[in-house]
């Protein structure tokens, strides 16, 4: 969805691809230039499809031989039938949707599993910037000013867990990544993950 986010998201893409069972059917929503789709097709032998909002991204994907359509996560997921995919993936995109809850519900409807990755707004650096500078935070992962960021619905890991509870989504796996892209143990307490995790990847099911 946003080129700058895509570039720094490689680690979460690899993590996501490890969560996907080989040979499955996958829909990647907000697939950008198709990096994840390519990884999935090459390493997991999946039937990989994508949805991307920018026409440039779509055209690049199709020219690379990927099955991608132009579409918007907020409005177009309703067109897909129930349980059409084994995995519906939303990487680094939920924070840029208008209706994150609706989108998440749609993911869980059209996929047997949903995989969601997002930047954690509860990370200590972000908290520190707000507290000490009194300004909207900017980091290497989130380089945009508040007025031109595509990210309109930031959340923390705790917020996301709460939303999963609210819509009865089962968290099968949750991984927080620190600034170095290293995994924090699943067993680490939630408050610590929320503090040290720069990104999070969730594997969900209904």
């Amino acid at each position: 969805m946003d080129a700058q986010i895509q570039n720094t998201a490689r680690v979460d893409l690899l993590l996501i691809s490890e969560m996907v069972e080989a040979g499955s059917r996958v829909l990647d929503i907000g697939c950008g230039d198709g990096t994840l789709l390519q990884i999935l097709a090459e390493t997991r032998d999946v039937d990989a499809r994508g949805v991307e909002i920018s026409q440039l991204g779509v055209n690049q994907c199709v020219a690379r031989g990927l099955s991608v359509v132009q579409g918007d996560a907020d409005s177009d997921l309703v067109n897909y039938p129930d349980a059409a995919f084994d995995y519906a993936i939303l990487s680094q995109t939920i924070q840029a949707t208008h209706r994150p809850r609706h989108v998440l519900e749609q993911l869980l409807r059209i996929g047997r599993h949903a995989i969601v990755s997002f930047p954690n707004f509860g990370h200590w650096k972000i908290r520190g910037q707000v507290m000490l500078q009194g300004r909207m935070p900017m980091t290497t992962n989130l380089p945009n000013q508040w007025y031109d960021t595509p990210n309109i619905h930031f959340c923390t890991i705790k917020d996301f867990v709460a939303l999963c509870d609210e819509i009865d989504a089962k968290v099968e796996q949750a991984v927080a990544l620190n600034a170095m892209g290293q995994k924090l143990g699943f067993s680490a307490p939630l408050f610590l993950q929320n503090l040290v995790g720069e990104q999070a990847v969730f594997l969900l099911s209904r």
């Binding site: 499809r49 055209n59 199709v62 020219a63 031989g65 099955s67 067109n79 897909y80 039938p81 059409a84």
Partner: protein, 402 residues
Amino acid sequence: MSKPLLKDLPSVSANRLAQVLEPESEVARFTKTEPLVLDSGEQLAPFSIAYQTYGILNADKTNAIFICHALTGDQHVANTHPVTGKSGWWTALIGPGKPVDTNKYFVICANVIGGCMGSTGPSSIKPRTGRPYGLDFPVITVGDMVRAHMRLLDRLEIPDLFCVIGGSMGGMQVLEMAARYKDRVYAAIPIAAAARHSSQNIAFHEVGRQAIMADPDWCGGKYLEEGKHPHKGLAVARMAGHITYLSDEALHRKFGRNLQDRKAVTFGFDADFQVESYLRHQGFTFVERFDANSYLYVTRAMDYFDMVADEKGILANAFKGTKTRFCLVSFTSDWLFPTEESRAVVQALNAVAANVSFVEIETDKGHDAFLMDEPEFNATISGFLSSAAKTRGLSGDAELSA
């Protein structure tokens, strides 16, 4: 560019008429006992399908690509045209080393039923009377065109197609073929197409048909028997149609308000403007290679095309259970088959979780952009075909079939 006047149009070109009866193409002939059953309920027999092929069919017969031509196209997609002497209409896309690589694929293109380049149409001879069909020719549909294509494939003993590609009316045939013959179409590329012809498009076609029928030389459709051809009406139909294939931006870029070989307007009705001269030229050259009655029948087929109504309002049902890989392409400045039409098809395909790609190409060239050499369009077709070829297990150049 000369400035032809409609009154100076040539008489029927003998060469063009010869293409109806003895086309410079391969012809599959179906006898009286092998009728084509039409959507209207009528049966057409005997009938012929004129077609061209390029490249070599591999031993497994897995590398066949079928090209569906548009309203005024024909089977001469990648060879010199026998009437006009011009190169094929889709050489930007098809040929050795091109996105549709004839070193790798076996490419087939057939003249549609109702056409005038050798497939049976209104200027063909009606067996019972020994005279041209004229308006006795049954009204045909896009479904009938596709049914005829499948009969040709049966005759060529090609069980299924690796891909079917077409723009505009060709795209309609692609959608129809993919929906009706799901197990015979591995991949499909409908370009600048729609699942139903819009009201506005029917309206433009009606203008064209009325122009033809208003020409006294149309003779109630029996002009061939009278040794005439409604050149003026057909030229006007082509001029009106041609405007719809372009865009305001493209016309402005190409001609603006520039005058044709003169410094000032002449205060008359000569072709003062370059755009007028251009349109007259388009009309003039078109009548040399196209039959007026075919224009009536083929535009009618497009008008009748409505896959949505065929599926009682739910287009997705047409594609239920499809395993075909789809790649839809539209163009930003195409107002005849705008992007929304393609998007409606994409939505229907998504509703059945079909494997679909959809690319909108930014261009000011209008509907006809699909016939031009657009790098982004070529990259789309190349990328999609290579990927589909990989999953189908096609690789490298075609081997000679046994």
